[in-house]
């Protein structure tokens, strides 16, 4: 395996993962901006989040393409099925590609997707699988992998805690009235 191939694999893989981390960080950052009164900046973040997610899946595809072409050899599929860290990487990519496809309103309408958010929460599963991938892959520095795991864990916690608070507010009928009904796909 050439060093060029390893460099390409590292660059594309870490790009994909860091972009995914950025996408997952967008919502907590938006809430922080809102809390700080920077509403205009917060309003721009969902679009940035979508762009980061699309870029992450695209970088993941590049990473997989490089791995297939330059690393996995002539019989990649058996290796992908049998080797745990390759399997989790492939699975993470499959999830990201699914989320990529459902990031376009036209596709969402055509596929008759109503529960868009529960589907896109698979981004957290993709992140966990990506952490598993880098924790076991031969070339990823383990300190980076652990830092990544900690970052994803923190993002998940940040995501869960405000949800709980909001859920509690929604129990309040006045809260419901003030917000009005939105579809999940729109929220």
């Amino acid at each position: 395996v050439s060093e060029d191939a390893i460099t390409l694999l590292r660059a594309s893989g870490w790009t994909a993962i860091l972009l995914l981390a950025g996408a997952l960080a967008a919502s907590p950052i938006a809430r922080a901006f809102t809390a700080a009164g920077w509403r205009a900046a917060a309003a721009r973040l969902p679009r940035i989040r979508r762009g980061l997610g699309i870029a992450s899946a695209s970088a993941g595809l590049v990473h997989a393409g490089v791995a297939l072409a330059l690393y996995l050899g002539d019989r990649p599929w058996a290796a992908l099925a049998a080797v745990a860290w390759l399997r989790s990487g492939a699975l993470a990519l499959a999830l990201l590609v699914s989320l990529l496809a459902t990031s376009f309103p036209g596709f969402v309408r055509a596929a008759r997707i109503r529960l868009w958010k529960p589907l896109h929460r698979l981004a957290y599963a993709a992140a966990a699988l990506a952490v598993h991938h880098v924790l076991l892959s031969p070339w990823a520095p383990r300190a980076w992998a652990l830092a990544l795991a900690a970052a994803f864990g923190a993002l998940l916690l940040l995501r869960l805690v405000p949800r709980k608070a909001r859920a509690e507010r929604r129990e309040d009928p006045e809260g419901d009235a003030s917000r009005g009904d939105r579809t999940v796909a729109e929220s």
Partner: protein, 737 residues
Amino acid sequence: VVPARREADVQLAILLLALVLAAIGGAERFAGFVLAYGIAWGIANLAALRGWAPPRLSRGAKMAIAALVAATPITVIGARWDALITREGLLGLDVHLRDRLRLEAVPAIHPALVAADRPQTFLVYAPGGQRARVALAPGIAVLDAEPLGHGVFRVDYDPRQHGAPAASGPARARIEVDGVATERAVTTLVPLAHPRWLRASPDRRQACTTSEETDELVRIDARGLAGRMAVGDGPSDCTFLAGGAVAVAHRYAPTVAIVDPGGAIVDQIEVGWGGHRLAASPDLTRLAVALEGGEVVIADVRAGVVQARIEIGGLPDALAFAEDAATLIVARRQPAALLRITVDGAHAAIVAERALLAPVAALARREGGGSVIVAVTDWSDDPVPHLGNHYVQDQLVEIDTRSLAPLRHVLTARRSPRQDAAGGLDRGVSPLSIDVAPDGALWVAFAGSDEVARLVVGGPEGRAIDVAALGLAAPHGALLLADGAIAVSSPSGGRVAILEPSGRLRASADLAPGDATLLREDPEALRRRFGERAFYEATRAGVACQSCHLHGESDGLVHNIGGRVLVPTLDVRGIAGTSPYLRDGSYPRIGDLHEVADTLYRGYREPAGDRASTLEAWIASLPLPPPRPERDPEAERRGLDVFVAAGCPSCHAFPALTNLGRHPVHAVFPRAAAEPGLSLDTPSLRGLTRQSRYLFDGRARSLEDVFRVHNPDDRHGRTAALSDREIADLIRFLESL
């Protein structure tokens, strides 16, 4: 359309449904859980399309329903948790992460074990560093590291020159790179005395043995300990000469010492480094020394000079003179063979060679020298090796020294009445020494079954003395003394003993503290001692770790131990801190290797203790073998340049020469005849020269073959375009590791 305010309820419903589906579907991999979630989401989406919305319930009711629904699937999935952890490679992840983080934290040092009894070579990796100094542990002088280039430094440590740690245990190594000091965790080891091979004096009134770890020569007689004296570094073997003098070979000194009966060293014969085994001619005028570098040296005792040297193409192990001082029988370990060597003046030549299916574990000369008795784990007159499975059958074979043809056979590993499992073997396992008594009977030390036995080749079944209860577990040496007493040595017990002919203990010499003392004063040393015993202890299949990993080293063979692929036996010395283990990286902890003995080989013959933990403690205490002392720093530096340019450090990363990564087999060896799902652990390249087979399936017989023959696709490093000179330099560098 599901209202946003019910979103949490929808999510909860999907999660619960996914849990149920995963439990029903028997998910044991992440993919199963993702699939279950996907199906649950699909069902929920379909339901949403048809206007379904979760019922409005109070928070308490929702939680109660969720708990009720989730309880069963969580229990079912929990029962499969171990399978999930194993299948997803998470078993022992903590150990792997600890080892890898230690190696990635630069400046990094390898190995992390500092042994007080032998020279060691450490590698320090400090990218960008120009100058490095290392204090390995308290009590050891600060050593200047030799820069090799590319941030790699070499530290040659010799406890005799630089001082030794005072006690075993955790310590901090101080690494100073360009004036910046960093501390790294290491473990110090001060080993206990290990008396191994026993040699009788010609009149059998005395016997001698050496303790390599404590640099001692030990004499015993029929009454017990007769003398204990300090000799050179790493006394590996001894033999009696005329007048009660004893010759001592040294592993870490280039000499054979001649020690008079009073304990004084009266002569030193320069033979070369790595003295491994020793034999005296029948007339006691010549010595034959097996050197680890692959040479056999014949020395004239009276003149104190080397007469002849001969390279035998592998590690010479046990050896004995045959009919006279001009003929020698040498057991070569890798590739396993018996050699007949004749010595004529300064010229020595191999005049006959017999390839063996397994290396010789012990060798003894019969009176007159017309035959030798060898202990082996496999034998066949058919030269086709037993590759089909892990084949071990301990046996003694008497071999004609002229033709090297077998004369007689005794299968020793056998079942005794105390076994109740079909096929269980618990007698005659791992013969490690043979003494041919004057009456022609053989006294054999069986380390695997803790016994010393008297056998008559071709005669009735012999009698055995169980020596474990005498503090002589895993005996390595046994011989008959003149008055019928039996001398026995036990390295793991740190003890030499004299037994009455009845087998009762007459006297013992405790060269190391007993178990009870260690339990009080050094429990870790006791754990290592128990682990050493477990290493030699037989399983019910008649196989011990020792059967293939000869005293921790490789037998040079390939075995099929799991039905997947033939794998060469690994040298387990110095493997600590490189999780995962085995060729496929399937074992995260050294102690897990105990599972092989416990399952594949049907468990140990006696139930006792935590062998996994003690076995790990002992194996982790085995230092890396030192590289060959001959140095060519310029060639090694050039070789390092080639190593880096070929991209080798991407996987064989400094300083351990492995990044502990696993690769699918065909990513590195596209043409390998292995199942595509096989993944390979990246092996450390340290101690590489102790092997005779290379690559994961042992197909390469030399380092040159690794690059020239077995890397046609240039995926195992970019070596196709290397010149002969570059390959030679690369090999020189690898040999220096």
